[in-house]
């Protein structure tokens, strides 16, 4: 026999009464991303193919840097919430916790890497 109460067995499988916060965040960030997506595609389209020094100078300018930073920060946090819905649909118990942790840690690592690169390109551009 299992030494577990029926309540404990059901815990975590139903509503936590807090899901609307995630849905609202995805709604708000999706509105921001509708504007950021075309802007980001234009920025990246102009950047690909530039020689190294010009590329660094390009991302040292305010608009390319701000649009890229905003797109990656807002996009990756939106990605965390989006993967969370997928994880909640397909994973249970410990696998769910591990998947959520991997998703959050990975996304913030991507954000940190991008922000570091953009900050350094701005500083290098100032040094010139």
């Amino acid at each position: 026999m299992r030494y577990i109460t029926p309540r404990k067995a059901a815990q975590g499988l139903g509503s936590a009464h807090s899901g609307t916060a995630d849905h609202w965040f995805i709604t708000v960030s999706s509105c921001a991303l509708v504007l950021l997506v075309p802007a980001f595609l234009l920025v990246i389209g102009n950047a690909i193919g530039l020689p190294h020094p010009e590329l660094v100078a390009y991302f040292g300018r305010p608009y390319p840097a701000l649009i890229t930073a905003l797109f990656i920060v807002v996009g990756m946090v939106h990605f965390i919430k989006g993967t969370r819905i997928m994880i909640d649909d397909y994973f249970q118990h410990t696998a769910r916790k591990v998947a959520i942790i991997v998703s959050v840690v990975f996304s913030w690592a991507v954000i940190a890497a991008a922000v570091f690169a953009l900050a350094k390109m701005t500083l290098v551009t100032f040094a010139i």
């Binding site: 595609l41 190294h52 996009g75 990605f79 997928m86 991507v110 290098v124």
Partner: protein, 130 residues
């Protein structure tokens, strides 16, 4: 039990024989494109970090970005991004109670599919010729 009709009962729709409505296909594609975008963002962030790591690191990343592998990943990502964006806009309509009738949802699905391909081609034309 001999009189039970075993051959002529209605069956529940099974994924392998049931033709999914376009609204279901585009809904599944929204989730797939959203997750697949991780490939494009990883490639671009690697490229950005390489640009501040040194000339050799940048040469490697820039080669990948401008190679046929980069072309496939970035063009695929551009399409996935447009698709996910259009499907996201449709979700904003859904949330406000619109486009929920079957014919509307079906038409919106085709608009997302065709729109995403047109916007991707437009992006490529802008990239190569402007």
């Amino acid at each position: 039990m001999a009189d039970v009709n075993r051959g002529n009962r209605p069956l529940s729709p099974h994924l392998q024989v049931y033709r999914l409505p376009m609204a279901a296909v585009t809904s599944i594609m929204t989730r797939i494109t959203g997750h697949a975008l991780v490939a494009g963002i990883l490639l671009l962030v690697w490229w950005l970090v390489a640009a501040v790591s040194g000339p050799r690191a940048f040469a490697a990343a820039d080669w990948v970005v401008r190679s046929w592998i980069g072309f496939i990943v970035l063009t695929g990502s551009a399409w996935a991004l447009w698709f996910h964006t259009l499907a996201g806009i449709r979700h904003l309509f859904y949330d406000s109670g619109q486009l929920l009738r079957i014919e509307e949802a079906e038409r919106a699905s085709w608009a997302i599919i065709i729109g995403s391909v047109v916007l991707t081609l437009l992006s490529l034309i802008l990239f190569f010729f402007a």
